[in-house]
């Protein structure tokens, strides 16, 4: 059974925002200077646009985007009908194909990043609160196993850096605890926006492990565990990170 666990070492829970330098924090704090809001703006346009065979926009079913307050805070979520964990990107594409009769939004494209940034923004400031009760607990446990698994040529687990070594310096930055509270983020290293999957994939490649696929069930499990681990921290979407 997985409860919302504190990282090993019982450190206080810290967002990556707290480990970033003052310039990065200043960028995130200013909505007029945070480049992620270029994507939020695109998301807002998409929210209102009628698309697909059904000729519906997101707004036609969901109303004003402000109605989505709280949604991102409880994603990813276990979907009993599909028997797997679904993240926000996957939920958006389900709506697109099944309800709008519209084409899938390409991964890491401006449209998907925009709509997930827009929806995530509606939960900004709310505590992350995913449901890991009942059948979801099995998935979160699998996610935790993956988090603690040593893998790749460097034979490192997520836990080694983000639980045990969090707060220590690695080259120019402090190792964060790895709470994914700001996604999609504007990452200075990417000079652009990206999803949590993009970041996780980069980490796995970084330890020279076989990266998970974007729609792998195990990725959903990992994202669910990460969200449970971050429970209580505020949603920061759209975040800025170095």
């Amino acid at each position: 059974m997985v409860a919302a666990v504190l990282p090993v070492g019982a450190q206080e829970k810290r967002s990556g925002y707290d480990d970033a330098g003052p310039q990065v924090r200043a960028m995130q704090d200013d909505d007029l200077a945070n480049p992620a809001f270029l994507w939020v703006q695109q998301g807002a346009a998409l929210w209102a646009r009628r698309e697909g065979a059904a000729g519906k926009s997101c707004a036609d079913c969901h109303g004003a985007v402000e109605m989505m307050r709280g949604v991102a805070a409880r994603y990813p979520a276990h979907d009993p009908a599909r028997g797997r964990v679904v993240n926000l990107e996957q939920r958006v594409n389900q709506c697109r194909t099944e309800r709008q009769g519209a084409a899938l939004l390409p991964p890491e494209g401006d449209a998907m990043l925009g709509i997930t940034a827009l929806v995530g923004l509606q939960s900004r400031g709310l505590p992350v609160a995913v449901d890991v009760s009942g059948p979801a607990s099995v998935h979160a446990a699998r996610g935790e196993d993956f988090f603690r698994l040593r893998q790749g040529q460097l034979n490192l687990s997520c836990a080694q850096c983000h639980d045990q070594l969090a707060g220590q310096a690695l080259a120019g930055s402090r190792i964060p605890q790895g709470h994914a509270t700001g996604y999609p983020i504007y990452r200075l290293e990417w000079q652009g926006m990206g999803s949590l999957f993009r970041r996780l994939r980069a980490c796995l490649v970084g330890v020279r492990a076989e990266p998970l696929g974007r729609d792998d069930a195990l990725l959903g499990d990992l994202e669910l565990y990460l969200a449970a681990r971050a429970a209580g921290l505020a949603v920061e979407t759209p975040g800025v990170r170095p």
């Binding site: 270029l38 703006q41 652009g192």
Partner: protein
């Protein structure tokens, strides 16, 4: 080009400086990176930015690839009479874009 994020007051006091802030989505490709095949990605940056009100210059900039991706500019303007502020920019491919906003001097 994608629409920029522009922040400028629509009503200002005569002779009192006010802030203009703009954020433009653009990769500002330096021409120094290589792609996955090892080929140099050609330079493509916004190289020129101009802000004027009814044809009178407020502020302009010549930008080099050292300006970060998704360029952000904050500068100030001062008007004595109402007018239309036009912000224009162009990149190395000659793609031009602009935003206009009517500003009233109260």
């Amino acid at each position: 080009m994608v629409r920029p994020l522009l922040n400028v007051p629509r009503e200002v006091r005569a002779g009192v400086a006010f802030d203009v802030r703009i954020l433009i989505q653009h990769p500002m490709e330096t021409g120094l990176r290589r792609d996955a095949m090892g080929l140099v990605v050609p330079q493509d940056v916004i190289n020129r930015f101009e802000c004027a009100v009814d044809g009178q210059e407020v502020f302009s900039a010549t930008l080099h690839p050292a300006i970060s991706a998704n360029p952000y500019l904050a500068f100030s303007a001062k008007l004595v009479r109402s007018g239309t502020m036009v912000l224009r920019w162009v990149d190395d491919h000659g793609v031009e874009a602009s935003e206009s906003v009517a500003i009233t001097v109260v």
